[in-house]
């Protein structure tokens, strides 16, 4: 698992904790940049939109949903990375997850937060968005629990809560390690964060049990969350959206884009935090195999969609499909197919699979493809509904494009803050994989 020979326990502490405790100017510059981009590209256009109205975006009578929703789904999708890696692989006892799962779980959390932000941007009167929560109020009104959007609210809140607890819980021993390695204010903070962890056998036992419990809990949660998000579309009768395959399609796509996201983030961690020792060939290899498997499933589902639309033969569905394949956004559709179905086939080749640089390119292309896929679903179905004289078009405006870019900056900012507050590589789990030193050798 370790490409460059096995590090010692002290090495692990030193390498990981130094990323937290020592901060160079490069970090501040990077953080400053991402925060500025986040403010300029996300918050300022959002403020403009709050004053002017949702009309600042490009949506119209047909395409009332646009990039805000498609980005929302993309970010929820990206959030499946952590869950899969952390929970599923934990249950199957895959050791190679140990050095990367912390960052993956962080990715989940921050993706969810970014996704929640998109909902706030999307909604017409965001100052009333709390009405979707079942809070007792003087109007005596409950929200409409039959609504797929309410399922969304419930699911995402649950997922967010569960993921936060999951990652926090798993980090408690590491917080203790930070506490032990630091002084002053930081020590006091991390004493609080670590809940006074002493590393007794009983504590380890409890942690292990709780962690496994959450892992088991979070897996069906993740599957249900993205199924529920897909049902925002699938429970409508809009041609192109009203397919039963949507739940598996979206879950598969989510795990797919999440895994690709992990590859990207791991590359960055290796490069910028010097974690080459801990994140190596075996991780890349396994992630690559995972990607291939998911890519094949994804391609299969796409073929299923095409086939069932053709087979069903209704004018509504065929027209939406025709628009998707040959209309204004056809180049985007084919780009999506290339990046998500064909490019990942390269991973079959070891030369690709074992090269970090090449895999970085592949993972970014996959995510671009997945972002496009969400957009295609929205932008090519809505302008082709039931009444032909009501067909329209959709063109995102500068506000939407800027906010999309800004969302990546927000994610990056959150992640950059994360690596300074939580050990990006799980100290204790990595140490579990090390062969213990013998006393007399």
């Amino acid at each position: 698992m370790f490409d460059h020979g096995q590090p010692s326990y002290a090495d692990v502490n030193k390498d990981v904790l130094s990323t937290m405790l020592e901060t160079g100017p490069r970090y501040w510059i990077l953080l400053g940049t991402t925060m500025s981009i986040a403010v300029i590209c996300f918050f300022m256009p959002w403020l403009y939109q709050l004053f002017v109205g949702i009309g600042a975006a490009g949506m119209n009578r047909n395409a009332v949903w646009g990039t805000y929703i498609s980005n929302f789904i993309f970010w929820i999708g990206l959030s499946h990375s952590g869950t899969l890696l952390s929970a599923v692989l934990h249950i199957t006892n895959s050791h190679w997850r140990k050095s990367i799962y912390r960052s993956a779980e962080a990715m989940t959390l921050f993706s969810l937060m970014t996704a929640a932000l998109f909902i706030m941007v999307h909604v017409g009167r965001v100052w009333f968005v709390h009405w979707t929560f079942p809070i007792p109020n003087p109007m005596g009104l409950w929200p409409n629990f039959r609504s797929p959007l309410m399922f969304d609210v419930m699911a995402i809140t649950t997922y967010l809560t569960a993921s936060s607890i999951f990652i926090y819980m798993g980090s408690v021993p590491d917080f203790a390690a930070v506490r032990d390695a630091s002084t002053g204010l930081r020590r006091r903070l991390y004493t609080i964060f670590s809940f006074g962890w002493r590393g007794t056998a009983r504590e380890w036992h409890t942690l292990g049990w709780a962690y496994t419990f959450f892992a088991v809990f979070v897996i069906p949660l993740a599957v249900s969350v993205h199924s529920i998000v897909s049902w925002d579309f699938a429970l409508s009768i809009v041609p192109g959206l009203h397919h039963t395959i949507f739940a598996p399609y979206f879950v598969c796509g989510a795990i797919y884009s999440g895994t690709a996201g992990i590859v990207t983030v791991m590359y960055c961690l290796r490069k910028f935090l010097g974690f080459e020792k801990y994140i190596g060939q075996v991780h890349l290899d396994n992630l690559g195999k995972l990607l291939i498997a998911l890519s094949l499933i994804w391609s299969y589902i796409n073929i299923l969609e095409l086939f069932s639309t053709w087979y069903g033969g209704t004018s509504f569905e065929l027209e939406a499909l025709k628009f998707r394949l040959t209309g204004f956004y056809a180049p985007l559709y084919w780009e999506m197919i290339t990046f998500c179905a064909f490019v990942p086939l390269l991973i079959f080749f070891k030369k690709i699979r074992w090269s970090w640089n090449k895999m970085l390119v592949v993972s970014i292309l996959i995510n671009i493809g997945m972002l496009t896929e969400r957009f295609i679903i929205v932008a090519t179905s809505l302008p082709r509904k039931f009444l032909p004289d009501a067909f329209g078009f959709y063109l995102p405006s500068w506000v939407e494009i800027s906010i999309t870019i800004g969302s990546f900056a927000i994610f990056a900012t959150l992640f950059l803050i994360f690596i300074k507050w939580v050990p990006a590589v799980s100290l204790y789990e990595v140490k579990e994989t090390l062969k213990p030193l013998r006393r007399n050798t």
Partner: protein
């Protein structure tokens, strides 16, 4: 408690005092919010807040004269509906009528009298007093009168009926000028001329579409823009589904499908200008096939000899069997009616074509019959005895007079010849030679911009007046127009302006025209009519009658039809039958397309372009908003490689315009169509600099007998400029794509 020193005490008092004074000042400076929340604690007396009142009056958005009911809340007009008791509108109203509120509350209304201080045409006006304006104008006119030169005063108005017409006529008469004329682009001059020839009538008859079984329309967009669309709509609805087991059929003959063409069961795209010939062809079949059994068969046969189906078919490009089938249907229907309008009555052969259509009606024997042509009874009152010119001929005469310096004072009211006539008429140049131009107008349209004085008029919703609908409804009807709101600005109604001018001019005028206001004048005139008919009325007091009439907005005598509808002999029609050959400006080789400008259901001839609701309203046939377009046949567009949005230059012998292209499935290949109404250079923020005006490129030709512009007689060529422009429309894909939207697929065809 600690000891307080004197110094401390003084300080405390001082601080407290300053604080108190400051507080009081601050309190006084806060605006009393109550004034903003409750504007009228004691409401004015003329309305009850929260309760709506309805006033009946007459719509002025087109010449149909529909009665309307206006809903007033807190002294403001909120909604216009059709007046349920008015025989023309019967409680219904069209899109233009509904938009009258946009005219009343238009942000670009002229709010006070204006003068341009000698810089005519620059658009720089400044406000002046009514007194000053009226004195200046009045003294100018009175000087001319004293010098016996009052014939140098001319009055040009839009189409005005009712007693305002009489007021204008009396004013000009007393002045000593016989130059009172009207101009309205939508005036059916050719129809009137043809009816004069065929039936000897001066008014339009009542076309009884309601009871027809076969309505054959030659170019007349009776549902959209022809004469009285609301009433025709009512009639159409009844004709289709209002009679048990009897559904009327409609056929439309025109080169470009209009709204009525879309509603028709059959649309026949005859060659432009040959519709009259087609009518003659049908007439020929009616006579030759023995469907017509009148005593003057021989004369008919003679007159129609040359128009056999084969000849007509070749000329009109309508298949011969279609002509035969149509003729037979026309003959065998219980109630057949043929009407003419649109481009058919706008070529150089307009009158000849309309006479041909009259011939069809005469052969069908529908004169005076239900479902046919019903001659209107004597009008409720006749206003001016002399027919005054209402067509382009009148404008040409006026232009000639202006050019040769014969006009000193030109009074304009509600007419926009600069916009709705071709540049070739030379109105704009001629008006330069007139020393004093006065416009009575509510909006600064193109013609008003050329005035020296602008006297702002009330909108029809703020005015007293009356109207006799034309065409009538088969019995005497008169409508009353009353103000439904207090006037918004410092304006006067046109009648009041004339009365004030009369007072300024002095002499005989204020003596003969002694009414203090338009209201008084209308009332007095109605009293005169009432007294005349006293024997008819049920011993009523005039006051009672007047109040009832105002409340209803209309008076009518449903029982009194035009006696025994005297059926005019066909002799004059037969004599008038001629070969309706139409001439086009421009040779076919150089200008391969015929230009078909069409009145739009939204703007009509452009008068509605300053109303935002109408600009927002998608054009019924194409769904385009806020702009102009030129329509091409799909095959033609394919051939020339033109797509929707390509900016084309449309060139005629009279000029050129640039306009985006639109592919239109229901237009003849050799015809391009453009909507009339946009392309204003002035007329408010909603109308200005939007689209193009096709009348600019219409050649200034006339049908001499109709005395009006032949706007369908221009040929054009088109050139793709290579530029592109978005044609803003809300329609998507206008094909059902096999979906059952217009109804389930039939078992039968």
């Amino acid at each position: 408690m600690s000891k307080i020193s004197r110094r401390d005490l003084l300080q405390y008092i001082g601080a407290g005092g300053i604080g108190a004074v400051g507080g009081v000042l601050y309190g006084e400076s806060i605006e009393r919010p109550v004034e903003l929340l409750v504007p009228q604690v004691v409401p004015p007396e003329d309305f009850s807040p929260g309760i709506a009142t309805w006033y009946n009056t007459v719509c002025n958005q087109c010449s149909a004269g529909c009665g309307i009911s206006v809903r007033i809340r807190e002294g403001k007009a909120k909604k216009i509906e059709g007046n349920p008791v008015h025989p023309v509108s019967q409680g219904r109203l069209c899109a233009r009528g509904q938009s009258g509120l946009n005219a009343l509350y238009n942000p670009d209304r002229i709010r006070a009298p204006l003068t341009n201080a000698g810089q005519r045409g620059t658009g720089s006006f400044h406000p002046i007093d009514w007194d000053e304006a009226l004195t200046t104008i009045g003294s100018r006119i009175s000087r001319l009168k004293i010098e016996d030169d009052a014939s140098r005063v001319r009055l040009l108005t839009g189409r005005v009926r009712g007693h305002l017409d009489e007021l204008f006529a009396q004013f000009m008469d007393l002045l000593g000028s016989q130059h009172y004329q009207q101009y309205d682009f939508t005036n059916p001059s050719a129809l009137l001329a043809a009816n004069r020839i065929s039936f000897g009538t001066e008014q339009l008859p009542y076309y009884d579409i309601k009871n027809a079984d076969l309505l054959l329309s030659f170019g007349a967009d009776y549902l959209g823009t022809w004469i009285s669309p609301v009433h025709h709509g009512l009639a159409y609805g009844h004709m289709r589904q209002g009679r048990a087991a009897r559904r009327g059929k409609t056929v439309q003959v025109e080169p470009r499908m209009s709204l009525s063409g879309a509603a028709a069961d059959e649309w026949i795209a005859a060659r432009p200008g040959t519709e009259g010939l087609l009518a003659l062809g049908l007439a020929h079949v009616l006579v030759s096939d023995g469907h017509y059994s009148g005593s003057d068969r021989a004369e008919w046969s003679n007159a129609l000899q040359a128009h056999s189906p084969s000849v007509v078919s070749a000329a009109t490009d309508v298949p011969e069997d279609k002509i035969l089938q149509l003729a037979r249907e026309f003959a065998s229907s219980k109630a057949s009616l043929a009407i003419a309008g649109g481009a058919t009555t706008a070529g150089t052969n307009a009158v000849a074509s309309a006479v041909a259509v009259n011939a069809l009606n005469q052969l069908a024997g529908n004169l005076g019959q239900p479902g046919g042509i019903i001659f209107n009874a004597d009008q409720a009152f006749s206003t001016s005895p002399d027919a005054k010119p209402v067509g382009m001929q009148g404008i040409l005469d006026l232009v000639a007079a202006m050019e040769s310096g014969e006009v000193d004072v030109l009074l304009l009211h509600d007419s926009n010849p600069v916009f709705s006539l071709p540049d070739g008429v030379g109105f704009r140049e001629a008006i330069d030679k007139v020393p004093l131009v006065v416009a009575l107008s509510s909006f600064r349209d193109e013609t008003t911009e050329l005035a020296d004085f602008v006297l702002p008029t009330n909108i029809y919703l703020e005015s007293w007046g009356d109207d006799v609908p034309d065409p009538g409804v088969g019995f005497p009807v008169a409508s009353i127009s009353q103000p439904v709101v207090a006037k918004l600005y410092d304006t006067l109604s046109a009648g009041d302006i004339i009365l004030s001018l009369a007072r300024q001019i002095g002499g005989e005028l204020p003596i003969q025209m002694s009414w203090g206001s338009m209201e008084e004048f209308v009332r007095e005139r109605w009293r005169a009519e009432f007294d005349k008919r006293e024997s008819d009325a049920a011993e009523q007091d005039f006051e009672e009658f007047w109040q009832a009439a105002i409340a209803a907005g209309v008076w009518g005598q449903p029982g009194a039809t035009a006696g025994d509808q005297l059926v005019p002999s066909a002799a004059s029609t037969i004599a008038a039958i001629s070969d309706p050959v139409s001439e086009f400006a421009g040779s076919e080789s150089e200008y391969p397309f015929v230009l078909h400008p069409f009145l739009t259901a939204t703007f009509l001839d452009g008068r509605g372009a300053n109303l935002p609701w109408l600009q927002e309203l998608p054009d019924p046939m194409t769904s385009v908003v806020y702009g102009s377009w030129v329509e091409l046949n799909p095959a033609t567009a394919d051939e020339l490689g033109i797509e929707e949005g390509d900016v084309l230059e449309v060139v005629s012998t009279a000029g050129s315009v640039r306009v985006p292209a639109l592919i239109f499935p229901a237009i003849r290949p050799g015809v391009v169509a453009m909507p009339v109404g946009q392309g204003h250079e002035a007329y408010g923020r909603y109308a200005t600099d939007r689209g193009v005006n096709p009348i600019h490129i219409v050649a200034a030709q006339m049908d001499a007998e109709a005395g009006d512009l032949a706007w369908a007689a221009t040929r054009v060529k088109i050139r793709n400029t290579g530029e592109r422009m978005q044609v803003v429309k809300i329609g998507g894909v206008s094909r059902t794509l096999g979906r059952q939207i217009l109804g389930p697929a039939d078992g039968h065809a």
